[in-house]
Symmetry: C2
């Protein structure tokens, strides 16, 4: 497009017949300007359709009042709730938020970090799953003194704050709930034993089994196989559906399922129904997250509620503190309570 150059401060200044600085004062509402001059300047601003150049402004001011949020799985309501909460908190403080998606690979993580750093955001909140090369790049960013807060993912660094739900305890309680109901063959859908090492929810599941002396049957733990060091792993209703189907073909299928998240649970529910089995009579199921859909499944889903909004809010607050603090702040860790929400998908105690 033959784009004509946008008007600059000096253009305005020239047409009005004042110094650029005076125009700047009008635009920013700072310093003294006579009403008469202000009027004339505003007039010219309108006529020339002037918009101030943020690049130049931010370059000079050395800050942008903008924060970046890097999300992994954007289609997960967890991410979206997080984003909402982060945004609300930031907006209230006059900051704006740019969201970047990194869904498939470490390479995309790096791209996201890069473009945010490139635009000189004042700080970054990272809510992707960790992976080697992405983390390495992130480390560089932190060492360049850009404030960073991570949510629900590993990242050890003295200058980086950490917010997370109690995934391990949540996974433990979900599994324990099933055990309490009398289940012995409990499946886990959403990761497998090999690649899911870092997954706290899976660890919680294993811990609960162990504590109740239920041997781990590795055929009951299923999920898509990924190289976690390079491909961050998420879990969808597809994975839940496929995983459940697989479990149902076992000679001795599980009587209960702990799904890594609610979407996975929804997929599993669909597979269970397709097989003509009843929930919870034939198979009980617990999810994780308590997304708003969880009350709308049939039967309504027992799940572990994580305080998504709170996580976002706290992360944003911590980041703002880092941005605005003159002093060095040491790493803070906030592990937030999760709560088991019992609905009908787990039903009553088994005879």
């Amino acid at each position: 497009m033959a784009r004509k150059k946008p008007a600059t401060l000096s253009d305005i200044a020239a047409t009005v017949g004042v110094a650029p600085m005076t125009v700047s004062r009008v635009i920013n509402g700072s310093g003294y300007v006579s009403d008469e001059t202000r009027e004339k300047v505003l007039q010219a601003v309108k006529e020339l359709n002037y918009r101030r150049n943020g690049l130049a402004r931010n370059l000079k001011r050395q800050y942008t009042e903008t924060v970046g949020l890097v999300l992994g799985d954007i289609s997960n309501p967890y991410s979206t709730e997080l984003a909402r909460a982060v945004r609300e908190t930031l907006i209230n403080q006059g900051y704006s938020l740019f969201i970047c998606i990194s869904e498939h690979s470490a390479k995309e993580d790096i791209l996201a970090f890069e473009s945010l750093a490139n635009h000189s955001v004042d700080g970054i909140i990272v809510a992707t799953r960790s992976n080697e090369s992405g983390d390495k790049y992130l480390r560089g960013i932190v060492e360049a003194n850009i404030p960073v807060v991570v949510i629900g993912r590993d990242f050890q660094h003295e200058d980086v704050d950490f917010v997370s739900p109690e995934n391990l305890k949540g996974g433990f309680e979900a599994t324990q709930h099933l055990i309490d109901l009398g289940h012995k063959r409990i499946g886990f859908i959403g990761a497998n034993l090999k690649s899911g090492t870092g997954l706290k929810r899976l660890q919680g599941y294993l811990k609960a089994l162990e504590q109740h002396n239920i041997p781990v049957d590795e055929r009951l733990v299923t999920g898509r196989n990924e190289d976690i060091s390079e491909v961050p792993g998420y879990s969808t209703e597809e994975i839940g559906f496929e995983g459940m189907k697989r479990l149902l073909t076992l000679p001795n299928p599980p009587t209960a399922i702990f799904a890594r998240n609610d979407f996975t649970a929804i997929g599993a529910i669909s597979a269970i129904k397709e097989a003509g089995l009843r929930i919870p009579e034939d198979i009980a199921i617990v999810g994780f997250d308590d997304i708003s859909l969880a009350v709308r499944t049939s039967p309504p889903l027992t799940t572990v509620r994580q305080p998504m909004r709170l996580e976002g809010q706290i992360a944003a607050e911590m980041l703002l503190e880092r941005i605005e603090s003159k002093e060095k702040i040491s790493r803070r860790e906030r592990i937030l309570n999760c709560e088991l929400i019992v609905r009908e998908s787990t039903g009553l105690r088994r005879r």
Copy 2:
């Protein structure tokens, strides 16, 4: 945080003992640099943890290779699929994407436009629902020669491209499908007759009724009441649930429902089940969008599939053309086919 100043090109230049321009050449891989110098520069870059300042760079270059996407309802899979497709298309062309959310009000629309313009993005894709003051601001942006493409929302401007699913036809076909099955009392959930004037899906519904000489019963059209000029309206499973409950209290409730989108449909399904009614025997239901969850509801949801990824891709391509074209491009409109996907939630023909 006592942030020490990040290293600049000149810092590198000083330590290596060359001119800043030489360092710039190394960083950008442009022009001639001897291997020896390159080595030394790269060494210094590493040691000082140099990152180039994008603000300065972009200010000088007058473009940022960045595109902004403004989303309304971020929790809708429609938005997220869109975002994914947009992002993929852009990344392939070396652009990066910043997403802004504007969920509640025209004010937030404006904030989003403002921060994107502030960061001098090369172009903006807008996928919020339209509203007066937001549109007015957007008009200013367009007139400042920033390329803009809108998706699925009204915005008339000679310099703005428009991509949209065939909402009207989709709504028409969904309703017609129900009529073909023998339904006469068909409810619409997701908007009401007053505030939903601009909603093509509702118009399609009305048109189908009219064409089959079924009188419109305004009690059968329900949704949250919003002032559409200032508060963009979306529709969630909450709204579907509430709306369905309301319809069920009518003396003569509908035998079929057309829900404005799949989420609304899911909420409605939940309400129908809670009332002890069967789908599709007692009430048939059609959604819109064909989100991935639609096959996972029970029964699987009949819905109108809109090509979300294609919309995103086309919008991104159009925007890139605008950004890179030297010539003026006249408004282009792409209306994309929707497809009725019949699943079990509408069932067989009524006797």
